[in-house]
C-alpha cells in the first residue's frame, strides 16, 4: 500500500476476504477527506460494490489476477479508481433494477447503488489491460442517495 498525504494506493489479489479491509480503508479515507458518517457509509458501500465487481465479474475470482485501487483526496472531492484485469463491461447494458419487471431480479443492483451513492461513475476500458472505474464524491454534494 502506498500513501502520500492525499493519495492511498494499493493492489489486492482477487479474494473476497480482502473486501472488508478495503471497506475500512474507504471509511478512513472518507473521514479524512471530511465526509460525515452518512457519506462515509455511502462511499464505503460504493467501493465495496466496485471491488466486488472487479474481483467477481472482472477478474472472475481468478487469484492470479489483481485489483488496483487508488483513493485521492482533492479540496472539493474524493476520487476513487478501481482497476481489474477483466475484459470489461458496458454499464448501460445493466437493466434498471427499479423497473417493475426487474424488482424481483436476484442480481443487477450493484452499479445502481454505486450511481445512487456517488456523484460520478465512469467506466474506462484499458486496451489489453482490463477495466477501470472511477467514482467521485464531492464534498457538500447534493446527492442525498437516501
Amino acid at each position: 500500500m502506498t500513501t502520500e498525504s492525499n493519495i492511498v494506493e494499493m493492489t489486492l489479489e482477487s479474494d473476497l476476504n480482502r473486501v472488508e479491509m478495503v471497506e475500512e480503508i474507504a471509511r478512513r479515507v472518507s473521514a479524512t477527506a471530511g465526509f460525515d458518517e452518512d457519506d462515509q457509509h455511502k462511499i464505503e458501500m460504493a467501493v465495496h460494490e466496485s471491488v466486488i465487481n472487479a474481483i467477481w465479474h472482472g477478474n472472475k475470482n481468478d487469484p492470479s489476477k489483481q485489483v488496483w485501487l487508488r483513493f485521492q483526496i482533492f479540496d472539493d472531492r474524493l476520487e476513487i479508481r478501481v482497476r481489474d484485469q477483466g475484459i470489461g463491461f458496458d454499464p448501460s447494458s445493466v437493466a434498471n433494477p427499479l423497473k417493475e419487471e426487474n424488482l424481483l431480479n436476484v442480481s443487477g443492483r450493484g452499479i445502481f447503488l454505486i450511481r445512487t451513492f456517488m456523484d460520478e461513475y465512469r467506466v474506462k476500458k484499458l486496451e489489453g489491460q482490463g477495466t477501470e472505474v472511477t467514482l467521485v464524491k464531492r464534498l457538500n454534494s447534493n446527492n442525498s442517495g437516501q
Binding site: 473476497l16 473486501v19 472488508e20 471497506e23 457509509h41 458501500m45 465495496h48 460494490e49 466486488i52 467477481w56 433494477p97 427499479l98 424488482l103 424481483l104 431480479n105 436476484v106 442480481s107 443487477g108 443492483r109 450493484g110 445502481f112 447503488l113 445512487t116 442517495g145 437516501q146
Partner: protein, 119 residues
Amino acid sequence: MSMKSTLRQVDSVIVVDLSGRITLGEGCTQLRELVREQLGKGTKFVLLNLADVTYIDSSGIGELVSAFTTVSNQGGQLKLLNLTKKVHDLLQITKLYTVFDVHDDEAKAISSFEKAAGA
C-alpha cells in the same frame, strides 16, 4: 465477520435471528442454504430478524429477494423483522420496501402469519 444465524420456532413460524454480514460469498450462501433446508423440512412461514445484521450489499439484497420468491413459490411466506436504518434505507432505495412485509414487533409479525394462514 461472517454471517451467523440462530433458529427459533414460535408457533408455526421459524424465526431466524441473523447477525453479521450478508454479502457476496459466505453470507449469501448460508442464507440460501438455510432457506432451502427449512423448505425441505416443510416450513411454510419464515421470519428473518435482521436486527443484528451489520452489513448487507447488493448481493445480500438479491439473496433476500431470492429467499422471498423461493418461499412464496412453495406456497409459504417470508417476512422481515427489525430492519436497521441502513438496511431499511437500502430497501427504500431499491424500491423493495413495499415488496417485503416488514415488521418491527415480533409478536405482531408472528400473528400476521397466523392471520394470513387462517384467512
